[in-house]
Amino acid sequence: MSTSIDQGAGAKNTQLSRSTEFGLAVRQLRREFRLPEYLVLIFALVLSVAAVTSVGFFANRVERAMAAQAATLLAADATVASPQTIGDVVRKQADEAGLTVTDVIEFPSVILNADGDTALVSVKAVGSGYPLRGQVLLHDKLYGEESAATGVPSAGEVWLDPRLAGSLSSEVGDKISLGELEFLVAAFISFEPDRAGDVFQMAPRLIMSADDLAASGLLGEGSRARYKLLVAGSEAGVDGFGEWINDGDDASLRFETVEQSRPAVQSALVNVRRFLGLAAAVAVLLSGAAVALSARQIAERDMDTSALLRAFGAKSSSVVRIVLMRLALIAAMAALLGSLLGYLAQFVLSSLLAQWFATALPAPSLLPLVGGVSCAVLALAGFCLPAVSKAVSAPVVGVLRRDLPKARPSSWVVVGAGVAAMLILLSWLTRDAALGSLLVAGLLVVLGLLWLISRALISTAGRVKSPFWRRALEGLRRRPNSVSLQISAFSVGLLALLLLAIIRTDVLNAWQKQIPDDAPNFFMVNIQPQEVDAVESFLQSRNITGQQLYPMIRGRLEAINDRRIGEGGFKDERARRMSERDFNLSYQGKPRETNTVIAGDWWAADTDQFSFSVEEEFAEETGIALGDTLHFKIVDKKVSGVVSNLREVEWESFAVNFFVVGTPALLKDKPASFVTSVYVEDGQAEFVRDVVRKFPSVTVLEVGTMIERVTGILDRAALAVQYVFLFTLAAGVLVLVAAVLASRRERFHEAAILRTLGASRKYLAASMSREFVFIGLLAGLMASTIAAVLAWAIVELVMNLEYHFNWVLWVIGVVVGVVAIWIAGSVASRPVLRQSPLAVIRSQV
């Protein structure tokens, strides 16, 4: 008798070893993960990990590309940039600080080969010593061997972007003309250190020596050149020099170090990254809903297991550990599979955005895997743990009493945990806690609204009196919450895809279409005063009439009334930058037809007053009012005048326009170049060639390619975001499958009763099909219609363009909704139909 008591006491110390617990977890999982609810759980996790890591891997590649080039991003330790030649005072200061310096001058131009072909290039004239940091790599022949450049191009030689090879010069040794000079192509450029800074690739590069600039005649008044002085040296020297520049009173000089230049470079990518992150987050949120739905069923199984294990003597802490180990295994599996999928998916993302980058992206690091694993863990913790943790504490008597109600966590706990997980994840994905919270709130509002709309639709649909739909509609009426969740989850994904499709096609099209057919397709800039007559008669000889050549004068706004620029008082950063930088002024006597004066009066054509006319939006942004006195500095002289009118400009016309126009009396004697925009109907290539030949210093810019470049960039960005939203759509499908599985027991029961009453399997299949078709119809209608409404709002209200309803996309949305939901629903409910009535009734015992 006493022995058994001792053993009883001994048994109290029984502690399951971790390996036994782990063994149990593995064994259970190995068989159970073939169950549909586990499959849904794992798919949902894999999907969210894949969405997050695909974006993560892609962003990582971009970041690595930037980090790798950070040291040489400026080809110097710092740069001083200015819209005009950098004066000797600055050079002297740099010299005193012990810094090495060199010049870089960049501007667009057009080159011409022996056959008369032309191409727009981005010229970079470099002084000796360039680059001060990093090196230029050259090909000796097209895609030949790569070697580091020694020095800069010799006089009379240029290095060319290989992109020009096809159209202009296929070999080293070819001759090309640029401005008034002829050059020898000495090499092709393979890598240019400070090129990586241009996130958006512009025209192909041409590198020449700064010594050739003067003779080329390319830098007349009004050329659009950017001057840079590169400096390198000791940190203290660079810092001191930077302070001197920033404290100096020449506001046109901008001092930039590597650290400062990076954010500017990245800001465009940061925005795209945020959108990609948002798309991934929506996928995670929907997957989370699928996880939560399947977790509920998994938890019900776990309650039985937990009660049984404890009946046989397991401690609750052991049961908790077994459950956690199993979840950890699931998380590990999902993280691994999801990351693999994400890794593959990022290749597509990178290739979609490849044309954004000047250089090939480096391979990603393994860092995004951390994100993938945390995403799986967070999703499980947020969406699965609340339900499963309830199972762990299920009453042990459950082994004797199967009728015991299944304990479920309160909805508040589930939603709270899910929201918390989403907050952490979104803040991390967007690298911005405030934005993360805003997005979570936004997402919940959107989902909530969709949910309400679908509830309303369902209750309306419930009143449909049609024998054909009767059984299907009964299914909807009986589970309104579950069906609303299915509809809203699915339509979120579909809605996002449709909206992006509309933006990519209709909105960009509308924007392009509203440009009149005979809008100018070429800009001619940098026309020197002595060339004006020749250019005018050249245009006339080509029957290009009615085009005016506008004078353009560089000036810097120094003060408005008594308020000096740079002393605050400007409404926003953009306005401040705009007025701090030099910009282009013009003068004219008579008002232009396409400009409407909206305040004040236009001056008499021959006035001798000193007045300005200011574009109204610019005036609004910079805080210039009618009657203000503007003080400009042009070259070295101060020019002041009163704002006598504000004008509205149709920028969409692509005509040459100016923010600030002065009276001829005020500006006529100032150094100017002329610009014009022309519409060339055919023979465009010859036109460009002839202009370049006849007027070497004039630069011809094609409007079409500029528009294409901008829309191309937008289109690619939208396409990339759309691509990530595919994950969202898949997650929406999973929510549907999870919801159908969750209703399986109920459906089993209904099916069994109907079949014992004599319903055929075919009848059941048909009525269930109809139910899913109906759900799909509601989801598709909702997504298509809301997408169309949003597109209308974007086009009409935001962009002020004319909206054309795209019924093709609308129909596609509805059809996709019906077909996808019908397929997913039929697959998920197959087991219900396969069961024999007897088995169904027995399974209810």
């Binding site: 399951l16 036994t20 802490s317 042990v396 082994v399």
Partner: protein
């Protein structure tokens, strides 16, 4: 040796309709190797009594000593530790873990009691119940009778001091039920386990040393 000593056990639950007295003032004792039947109409409180005796639930008042341990003073984990390796169960609805094979189900109580060589012991136990060839089958691949045999193997594999059986034949046809009961009594005798058998089958009750009748929560 006394296996179970219960004094004035009561169980009541609070429901929407007021307090429900499921068990009232039940006292009983069970010696080692003894077999008692608990009979009574459906809903009389038999399962509740079994749950209290096995420490699966806690009583509202009264004392229970199971295997010398004061169950009424222990928390749930403490009660579980008393059961580990010493108490077996057979249920009406078999209660095999659906994700584990027959063999793994039998190994479970051994593992929970940290007994070494669980696999070999479980294999020989399955052989004893005549399911050697079905070791790797999942519960869903076994008939009801076979599942209950696995449950018997699981109950006896630890050579329990006491076995609790709640209507073990309730879900089986008569012939299968009889063979299960025969097997259970044979194995119990070999291991000299005490047995608390809940049933409403008079034939079965008559095979026991003592019969306790529960009506409306009271022992007759």
């Amino acid at each position: 040796m006394t296996i179970i000593q219960a004094i004035n056990l009561s169980k009541q639950v609070v429901t929407a309709e007021g307090t429900l007295k499921i068990l009232q003032e039940v006292s009983l004792s069970l010696d080692s190797g003894e077999v008692i039947a608990v009979v009574g109409p459906s809903g009389s409180g038999k399962s509740t009594l079994l749950a209290l005796l096995a420490g699966l639930d806690s009583a509202s008042s009264g004392e229970i000593n199971l295997l010398g341990q004061p169950m009424h003073q222990l928390d749930e984990d403490g009660r579980a530790a008393v059961r580990a390796g010493q108490v077996g169960f057979v249920f009406q609805s078999f209660q095999l873990l659906p994700g584990l094979t027959a063999l793994e189900n039998v190994m479970l109580p051994l593992e929970l009691a940290s007994v070494g060589d669980a696999r070999a012991l479980a294999e020989s136990q399955l052989q004893l119940v005549g399911l050697a060839s079905r070791q790797q089958h999942l519960p869903s691949q076994l008939s009801g009778g076979e599942q209950q045999r696995v449950a018997l193997a699981r109950a006896f594999v630890i050579a329990p001091k006491v076995l609790f059986a709640d209507e073990p034949t309730g879900n089986l046809d008569r012939a299968t039920g009889d063979s299960i009961v025969d097997l259970m009594f044979t194995m119990r005798a070999e291991q000299n386990s005490a047995l608390v058998l809940v049933t409403h089958d008079q034939r079965l009750a008559s095979r026991c040393d003592r019969v306790l009748t529960v009506t409306e929560g009271r022992l007759q």
